[in-house]
């Protein structure tokens, strides 16, 4: 078990998502930055789809009531075990009673904590990803106990792994494909869309990221149609919305661009005020 002493700003259990129920209106969900969550699992020798804890900006305080091994990837939120600071992208041995804390955010936005064997919360509709009304809660709360696997032979040595993927956090280039309504934009609109630097507004969460800059919109709404994670929508008032992991399954705004999978992961590490530029990948 792991006891939650403090929940942090927004921490939730996520695997790679709930795929088979979209036709019933169920969002796919899953970890926002799947490059980092899969890396966290891989470093520990877990399966890619094992559930991890997604930690956003301000970390939780966790008390381990069982021995295990952990790995933290993604954003560096100055993690420490028993007040001794530890590195990201490394494997650590955890003893019963150890306390994991986080501190100052150094880079990125979302951190991924994996434990050996993954978090063992109840699977609902074939996934452990938290999403309100599918799972009981949308995030972990103070006082919760999280089930983890009991390990037999624990390698007690810390393993340092040399992996550096800072470009993932620093780069502001978001690769996109043309969306279904892209060709209805004017030449001028397309130019602005692909050359302007946009900034992320304070409306950004697991469902969608809104951009600050307005855009002259001449497109009409469409009959409610289908969207994907990473679909870029243009609202009637000229706002650009990028749908993220908890996005609804359909929507009525024109879909002007579609982010590549890699770029959804990159965008997940951006927060309010960060700048981005769209780069069209020819297809």
């Amino acid at each position: 078990m792991i006891e939650i002493i403090k929940s942090g700003l927004y921490s939730s259990i996520q695997d790679l998502g709930r795929f088979e129920y979209e036709n019933y209106g169920v969002p796919v969900s899953g970890s926002m930055d799947q490059f980092s969550s899969v890396l966290s699992n891989k470093l520990l020798g877990n399966m890619d789809n094992d559930a991890v804890m997604e930690i956003t900006m301000v970390g939780p305080i966790l008390k381990f009531l069982k021995e295990t091994r952990i790995c933290i990837t993604g954003a560096d939120i100055s993690p420490s075990i028993n007040d001794k600071s530890i590195d990201v992208n490394s494997i650590y041995q955890i003893k019963k009673g150890d306390i994991l804390k986080f501190g100052k955010l150094k880079y990125g936005l979302r951190s991924y904590l994996s434990v050996s064997g993954g978090f063992l919360s109840k699977k609902i509709m074939n996934s452990r990803s938290m999403y309100l009304n599918i799972t009981k809660y949308s995030r972990i709360n103070k006082g919760d106990s999280l089930k983890i696997k009991t390990l037999k032979n624990i390698n007690t040595k810390r393993t340092k792994i040399n992996i550096n993927y800072l470009e993932h956090f620093k780069s502001n280039i978001i690769e996109v494909f043309k969306g279904p309504e892209y060709n209805e934009l004017t030449k001028k609109q397309k130019q602005v869309l692909l050359n302007k630097t946009f900034s992320i507004s304070n409306n950004n969460d697991r469902m969608a990221y809104q951009l600050n800059e307005s855009f002259d919109n001449i497109l009409n709404s469409i009959i409610t149609s289908l969207v994907l994670q990473g679909t870029v929508q243009l609202t009637p008032s000229g706002k650009i919305i990028i749908l993220m992991r908890d996005s609804q399954t359909c929507g009525g705004y024109p879909r002007i661009l579609q982010l590549s999978k890699k770029s959804i992961n990159k965008l997940s590490q951006k927060h309010m005020g960060n700048r981005i530029k769209f780069k069209l990948i020819e297809s």
Binding site: F19, Y24, G25, I124, N133, G179, I223, S225, T249, Q258
Partner: protein, 243 residues
């Protein structure tokens, strides 16, 4: 068998979007559902994720796709679709209590539509509605066929907590909130039944292509059905569509 001129569009690295003419039409819906089941047949042992809306079908594959190969594959499947089997679809009776206790926006609608409450309720429950799509919220049905006389623009500011089961009118649509959620529709009643059950392999008993009919009930009946639903003994009433 009617065939439409379909538009294929690449949608990211993994998906193809197929579009039918841009209108809300029951024969288009039937055609989409036939294509969908043809693809399901072809991919029975492989993973492919399908979702449909009023006039489109989205096919998402597990691996990055070669767009041109997929298009010709899909085109071949489209040529094979068979005739509509109407008996595969049901009409479901959805009990709704239109009492003011639930229909918090009825008084406002009476004023704005210059109609009395009984007429609004009658126009709402005297028709059958086709289910085009499930989306927006888990278990939320997109219905077609609301009487023009009771179309009404959405609220300017959405309400934070619309209670579970609320039946509302938003623009040219009507629908039921499967769970408590924010919403901008005008609420005219409440249904005590569960539209979405996370413990079932098919979490919704209603599917696109089915029809629903709202059946007016009293406050007492609402209370009774709610108890039956909570103790898992309520069975929704259905009839097969075979016209």
């Amino acid at each position: 068998m009617k065939f439409y001129k379909l538009k294929y569009k690449r949608f990211g690295e993994y998906s193809v979007l197929v579009e039918w003419p841009s209108k809300i039409d029951e024969s288009i819906l039937e055609n989409i559902l036939l294509f969908k089941s043809e693809i399901e047949k072809k991919y029975i042992n492989k993973k492919v994720y399908l979702k449909n809306s009023y006039n489109s079908l989205l096919i998402s594959y597990e691996k990055k796709i070669n767009y041109n190969t997929k298009i010709s594959e899909l085109n071949n499947s489209y040529k094979k679709i068979g005739p509509v089997k109407k008996q595969d679809f049901n009409t479901w009776e959805i009990p709704v209590c239109y009492d003011n206790q639930f229909g918090s926006d009825l008084i406002n609608l009476e004023k704005n539509l210059s109609m009395n409450k009984d007429d609004i309720i009658y126009l709402h429950n005297s028709k059958e509605y086709r289910v085009y799509n499930i989306g927006f919220l888990p278990g939320f049905l997109y219905l077609g066929g609301l009487d023009k006389k009771i179309h009404h623009p959405r609220k300017e500011k959405p309400v934070l907590n619309v209670p579970k089961g609320s039946v509302g009118i938003g623009g040219s649509q009507t629908g039921i909130y499967p769970n408590t959620s924010p919403g901008g529709w005008h609420i005219i009643g409440n249904s005590p039944i569960n539209l979405f059950n996370i413990n079932k392999t098919s979490p919704c008993f209603i599917k696109p292509g089915d029809k629903i009919k709202f059946n007016p009930i009293s406050l007492k009946e609402h209370e009774l059905i709610k108890i039956q639903v909570e103790s898992n003994i309520y069975k929704p009433i259905k009839t097969k569509i075979n016209d």
